[in-house]
């Protein structure tokens, strides 16, 4: 019972946290002086180790339930792409995150995770289609955040 709870809730939550932290650390790595850079590199490696241990635990727990190894690879996630100034605010070009019901819920999550997004104006595209008001999301979707265009 505890095993199932761990696998489906806590395990995935920890993975999302670690992925987010890794993305932040990677971004910060490029911004700092060489001394703090060293500390950030160590932090990055520690996060990497944590992620691998986490994946091992999740896979071992799921294996005990009779779920195949292939199933463990299909993590319920969506990809979020950040463009223009939004990439600077989030510190990353791409973020893998847990699937949300719809784009409004995703937007709320991202604005909490990256408060700088709250002041920004942007359109949202789901699987390369700009959406008008909002759209339902499912695992495997790619959501892109598009600030005002400035090509040409």
């Amino acid at each position: 019972m505890i095993g199932i709870l761990y696998v489906f809730v806590i395990g995935d939550v920890i993975m999302q946290y670690l992925s987010g932290q890794e993305a932040k650390a990677k971004y910060q790595e490029n911004q700092q002086s060489s001394e703090t850079k060293y500390r950030l590199v160590v932090k990055l490696h520690l996060l990497h180790c944590c992620k691998y241990i986490e994946i091992l635990i999740i896979r071992l727990s799921r294996k005990r339930k009779g779920v195949t190894f292939v199933d463990t690879l299909m993590i319920m996630s969506i990809k979020v792409l950040f463009f223009g100034q939004l990439a600077e605010i989030s510190g990353t070009d791409v973020l893998e995150t847990e699937v949300r019901t719809d784009t409004a819920a995703l937007k709320r999550f991202l604005e909490t995770e990256f408060p700088g997004l709250q002041q920004m104006v942007f359109n949202i595209a789901v699987n390369s289609e700009i959406i008008e008001t909002q759209a339902q999301l499912q695992a495997g979707d790619t959501v892109a955040l598009l600030p005002p265009f400035s090509g040409g």
Binding site: F83, F149, S150, G152
Partner: protein
């Protein structure tokens, strides 16, 4: 789908060559060409030295394809070519090249103008104005 993206600036020699390539298409009576060049803007006492372009390429190519279909339906065009730079383009160099051809001039001229406006409005491309002190600012299209 045609790829419109070019890494770095668009060279004058490339533009000249594409004109030469249309020599054999003898039904053409007019070409209209638009070139976008990076301007040395001065913003709050800082000089722009280049613009760095990024794009959501998949969506940009999809939209460009739609624009292309729309233009061929609306105007009697023989040819239409669009090239946009990605990456850094220094001041004075070309970042956008639109080339339309038609039997009579009206179609080529009008289509070229409309395409430029649509590109600036519809394509998911972003420009980062880079200053001489390495600071940058995100371009805003007017």
């Amino acid at each position: 789908m045609k790829n419109i993206f070019v890494k770095g600036s668009i060279l004058p020699s490339f533009i000249g060559e594409s004109i030469a390539k249309h020599q054999a298409k003898t039904e053409i009576g007019a070409h209209s060409i638009f070139l976008g060049q990076v301007r040395a803007d001065v913003i709050e006492n800082r000089q722009v030295i280049s613009i760095g372009y990024t794009s959501y390429e998949e969506l940009a190519l999809k939209k460009m394809h739609e624009i292309r279909e729309m233009m061929f339906e609306k105007y009697q065009l023989t040819c239409m070519h669009v090239y946009h730079s990605l990456g850094e383009v220094p001041v004075g160099e070309i970042c956008l090249y639109v080339f339309t051809s038609s039997p009579h001039r009206r179609a080529a001229i009008d289509a070229c103008n409309e395409i430029v406006e649509l590109i600036k409005k519809e394509l998911p491309i972003w420009g980062r104005e880079i200053f001489s002190d390495n600071a940058h600012q995100w371009k805003v299209n007017k």
